[in-house]
Subunit: 214 residues, 6 copies
């Protein structure tokens, strides 16, 4: 008898959900992480349950943890942490690069990036699909655009920490790092070498460095 | 005879333009400010003429000039200054608000905004179309989202300068400030009062403050 | 034993749902108000359960109820009433404005509006983000466009009822009325006055009129 | 000497155009019919030259001229007449169907239609791609949706004029009438008959009726 | 007691689902056919459960079964068979047309088609909405584009089998065949004849051929 | 006197262009390669000047020229050769891979690819942004999807020529080959090595192979 209870609660909550949603407008669609998500993003939280905390976060862009190998760290304000970004085509991140540090060659398949340097300086560059290189040293107050899907990188060749803020045209930009794709994955040395022409010995050295298998 | 020269140059440049464009891919579409623009943005510059300066700008987000009335200033990195942002759905701005300063009630019809506070603090808020208020005090490292098209504002109720970086989901977000729309325009006091229920005397006072006519 | 029944029915209906959906094309996506909705709209009803009633409604655009303060009323044919509009970027409404009536200053963050006057006349206007006013008197058979996200209004300065039909580029346009956002909400008089420069005494008068708190 | 004049004027106007456009926001993009148009619509008119007439038109939805064969007429408020609709995804039309009249089987490849009946009644219907028929009689105040790209029709089986207003999710919906495509074109009787299985004799009769050739 | 088990499993799987999804990026959204789908497509499968089989299929474009009446067959690689196509705007099909065979007059409301002929030849054509006919004989290695939503057809007037590969700008293009819409459905002879001007006797003959009712 | 002639012709053609365009619908937008192009594609050719040749091409997907290093060749049916693809989100290519040949690691920033194998077999794979490898051997009639923007490759490990047809969700997909970006460009060995951790000696070897400078 009492076993029906959770089912009934579930059905009532379904009804409530549909009622509220059919009454509300479309100002925003705050992510409900417990519901299915689709090509356009997460399902929307019941607007009655939404509050300002869904749209904001304290200290989320404070100084990030620094990676030992890359001497770089990133704090992100993406939809997984700020559900109010769901369905919006924008997000922010902070990137700190120590002297000698690098944001290695990578691309964002679904986002253009605009990087502003707040402190220190970075050599930043991207490469177009006809193999033209666009590279520049960016200092405080300077800005550079990395068009969607193109390979790009940053290095700190200075002697001070450099700090940047990056805006993305996606609520959760994916990041495909070439080194990780090849040398942190389980892609076989044979296929890596065949598809990149990198010497198998060098491939194996890099697999050790990035902890890949295969 | 020599008069034909500019026409010939024009035609040749047209041909060159079309040739190069038909050969090149679609990595980006850098704005050509001397060509027509349409609903999707400016026409694309000949890719042969594009260089890294089209994607970057030095010092563009340095401290802005402060408005006397609002005690607020904004530096923008929008497509009108960074042609490489053309056709991309993202841009950046820096906003400085002095103690007692305000970014008055406004909306961006074509952009969601994500605001990160770098220094000081701001009380920031937006109102949904069912008249719910979402307001919060944001400090350094904190972030708030203003969903597209909704009225929002910021005030600095502290005693120090506050500085923020805003990302927009548009290469050139428009900004409709309610006060300016009503009191800086030439909309008649009669129509303002009829459509807002604000007392005509108050309307006239605000018109003086914002220098409107009508 | 029989308690398993609802669960089994649920599972069977899930299967049926997925089967039918994987077989059917994508002619339309009729809203299923009992399922989650996301940034692109409601989930789709099982196409087997769809009929012409999902796409139509009798008398939905008949004369609306008139608001006492505004002397205006609106009938809407939006997706909440016509589930076949789900995922489509269009809807209709009828607006009746009595002599002396007003559709107060408002914006639709996600929709452009095209208003046709069927009967009587309206003074209709919108304001662009550079504070230019576009205003015109529209009579029967006349049409005016209100671009997406811009503040606009209508008043009936005539002596007869005016009736209009509005098309929107959204299945459920939201409506942000400036007066309601400020004076029907719980935004504090302090913040309203700070962010709009309207005299606090006037703010309080308008809060009384629109029944706001705060 | 004076021959340089038109060229100089052209160049100056180019400069003015680019200046004004780089300064203005993106509230709207009013069609400039004398400039190139692309996949997203017409080029934008210089915002300095835009006025309220670009967004409105008097009497544009007055009673249309009636076609003899179909006993139907249509007045349209599309972007070709209202340049302010450029780049917006919405437009309006009025359709008058006399008793015995018909809006023959057709589709709009780029627009969903919402039809409201103002006067009289219409039998309206559409067919989905799995050959299900959705048909209904619509009276005053009633509404029906025709999903994008699907074949649909209206007939007036009553004894009074019926009048409807249609909203489209396109600024210039195209209209492909099956009869016209087959019998008003120069498609050969052989190919028509092969691709539709309609008897060649019937094809020829219909070609006479619709004045096709081939 | 054990009856709670399926519910608990359900809840745990919900949690797992939400956790993994909030951690993963947005490289793709593989269709989960057991979850709701919306205007943008199916819900996404838990990325942890995705493997290469979701993106591929062996022999899916092998020779299709041939329809007796049309002497034509089609193999499809659409999202219903390849879940990795979900949310992507592309798919493939193979079409075999025997001598004397026909792909009858039809349209795809949501997809442009590019057809490449691999073997044999086809007379292929489409008709624009101003009733212009674009028709051509395509041989091996040749290509023709059918713009979205326009009526088109193919016939094999040769003596050999013709084979083509078609790409669509949709993961699951719908196909509206005019003959099927009219003569395989239950639309009444009266309404067919009224909306197409085809002789009722011919309508009835075609209904017999295509097995329609009504 | 006669010098005015080209100017007059130019003006008349402008007028004709605008007239015809304002009269015509929006069935398609055939590329005019002599006009500006923007973020959404090329400007549209005057519809009066369009014919079936704009939508088709004979033999365009015949066997391609084979590259010596890669033992691979590609024939493309992209918008630069088929102007009717302008503004459509689809195109086709044929790829031939000889035994031992490779389509090296690359990505398409603006297109998802669906590859069908017609003849022989290919080992095809892609890597997601969390470094999971999806790899499979595809034979005749088999299909694999490469999601937009992700790194992917194909190798022919068999003893026969393999032939595939690829559909793209773009009219002109760009192709960023990692090797070319790094080793065919003028990116300095220092920056390559810093941003990829590849040994400078190996970088220099690969620069020789791919003919890069810098």
């Amino acid at each position: 008898m009492k076993m029906m209870l959770p089912i009934i609660i579930f059905m009532i909550s379904c009804l409530l959900f549909s009622f509220s949603s059919s009454l509300s407008g479309r100002d925003f669609c705050v992510a409900d992480f417990n519901s299915p998500f689709g090509p356009a993003g997460y399902s929307c939280k019941n607007p009655q349950m939404v509050n300002v905390e869904d749209f904001s976060s304290s200290g989320i862009l404070n100084a990030p943890i620094i990676d030992n190998l890359l001497k770089t760290g990133e704090s992100t304000a993406f939809v997984d942490k700020i559900p109010g970004l769901n369905g919006q085509r924008v997000s922010l991140a902070r990137v700190d690069v120590q002297p000698g540090g690098v944001v290695p060659l990578h691309s964002h398949s679904d986002a253009t990036e605009v990087l502003a340097v707040l402190q220190g300086s970075m050599i930043a560059g991207f490469i177009s699909s006809n193999n033209t290189v666009y590279v520049k040293s960016i200092g405080p107050g300077g800005v550079i655009v990395f068009p969607r899907g193109l390979l790009h990188f940053q290095v700190n060749s200075g002697i001070n920490l450099s700090v940047g803020i990056a805006a993305y045209s996606s609520p959760q930009p994916n990041i495909q790092i070439v080194d990780d794709a090849l040398f942190k994955s389980n892609l076989s040395t044979l296929l890596i070498s065949a598809s990149t022409f990198i010497n198998p010995i060098e491939v194996k050295r890099l697999k050790l460095l990035f902890r890949g298998s295969g």
